[in-house]
Amino acid sequence: TPTCEPETPLCCRRDYYVDFQELGWRDWILQPEGYQLNYCSGQCPPHLAGSPGIAASFHSAVFNLLKANNPWPAGTSCCVPTARRPLSLLYLDHNGNVVKTDVPDMVVEACGCS
């Protein structure tokens, strides 16, 4: 999935780096210093519905063309995350203990049309 450019109207991944200092949370989140809060945005016209990302395989490209010829698409298609990865955090809990944990599905890696 391409990262969104200002003029990209189609479904893409918008990259956002959040620095924990900016949240005022550096006193309890020890590592990392921030993380990518990416999210998906953009339109999903009918011929892109169901495509895993703009770089679709040949099959889905054909499938998309077939759909595009159908004047009445079944329903609306939304730009949603299609691949996510965990974020490893090291933080102080309310007892002052150091906790290291992996938070699943925290970072969006790819977007696609539902």
Binding site: V18, L23, L30, G42, Y91, G96, T101, D102, V103
Partner: protein, 219 residues
């Protein structure tokens, strides 16, 4: 509301940059608290000393990823008896998560001073309040230490239990080997370094209990 540009998803007017930034930061807070199963950020009243933190973090195996739903915890001891560097002492740990998680790895890290006479026999008990006097100490492990410096003493993960109060107390009973003269007794008091950045700490690996796990065991 930004003028002119349109929101690429809904077609409505795009947010002004500051408003979008503020919204994203708020989303980030919610996403992190939800991911850590916290309702609000922890209030850190007594952060551990930076030096102790740095040393302890070196113990967390770098690069090992906690298994799915697993956590690695380092809990620093507070010494509840009067002296700060005696050999036998009560170590108190605040571990509220122990009750709701399955513990599968536990080590107690101690720093032994160079004044160690020869071999030190260590017995580690879990002190449980509210039981009859004779049952208030459950022996967890016995270790022999022959060199000064940091020692990681393995504790049976099945033995260490979380308490309702969230407070775990370990009683350290240590004796030097017989061949030490009583003169060492005076030095006995300098064997364990429990102050500052040599504070003892527990290194635990815990995993969220599967829902209903307790019930199957009861059945």
């Amino acid at each position: 509301q930004g003028t002119g540009s349109a929101c690429p998803s809904c077609g409505g007017p795009a947010l002004a940059l500051q408003a979008e930034r503020a919204l994203v930061l708020e989303l980030a807070k919610q996403q992190i608290l939800k991911g850590l199963h916290l309702t609000s950020r922890p209030k850190i009243t007594h952060p551990p000393p930076q030096a102790a933190l740095t040393r302890a973090l070196r113990r967390l195996q770098p690069g090992t990823t906690a298994p799915r739903k697993g956590e690695e915890v380092i809990s620093f001891a507070t010494i509840t008896d009067s002296s700060t560097s005696t050999c036998s002492s009560m170590l108190t740990f605040h571990l509220s998560t122990l009750q709701s998680h399955h513990l599968y790895h536990a080590r107690l890290w101690l720093h032994v001073l160079p004044t160690l006479p020869s071999t030190l026999h260590l017995k580690i008990f879990q002190w449980s309040p509210g039981r009859r006097r004779r049952e208030s100490h459950a022996l967890l492990a016995e270790h022999q230490v022959t060199t000064p410096g940091w020692h990681a003493l393995i504790l049976p993960s099945g033995g260490l239990r979380g308490e309702e109060s969230g407070v775990v107390k370990l009683w350290l009973d240590c004796r030097p080997s017989e061949d030490n003269s009583t003169a060492a007794t005076g030095r006995l008091r300098q064997l364990l370094d429990t102050a500052g950045h040599h504070r003892p700490f527990l290194e635990l690996k815990i995993q969220a209990k599967e829902p209903g796990a307790g019930r199957t065991k009861r059945r």
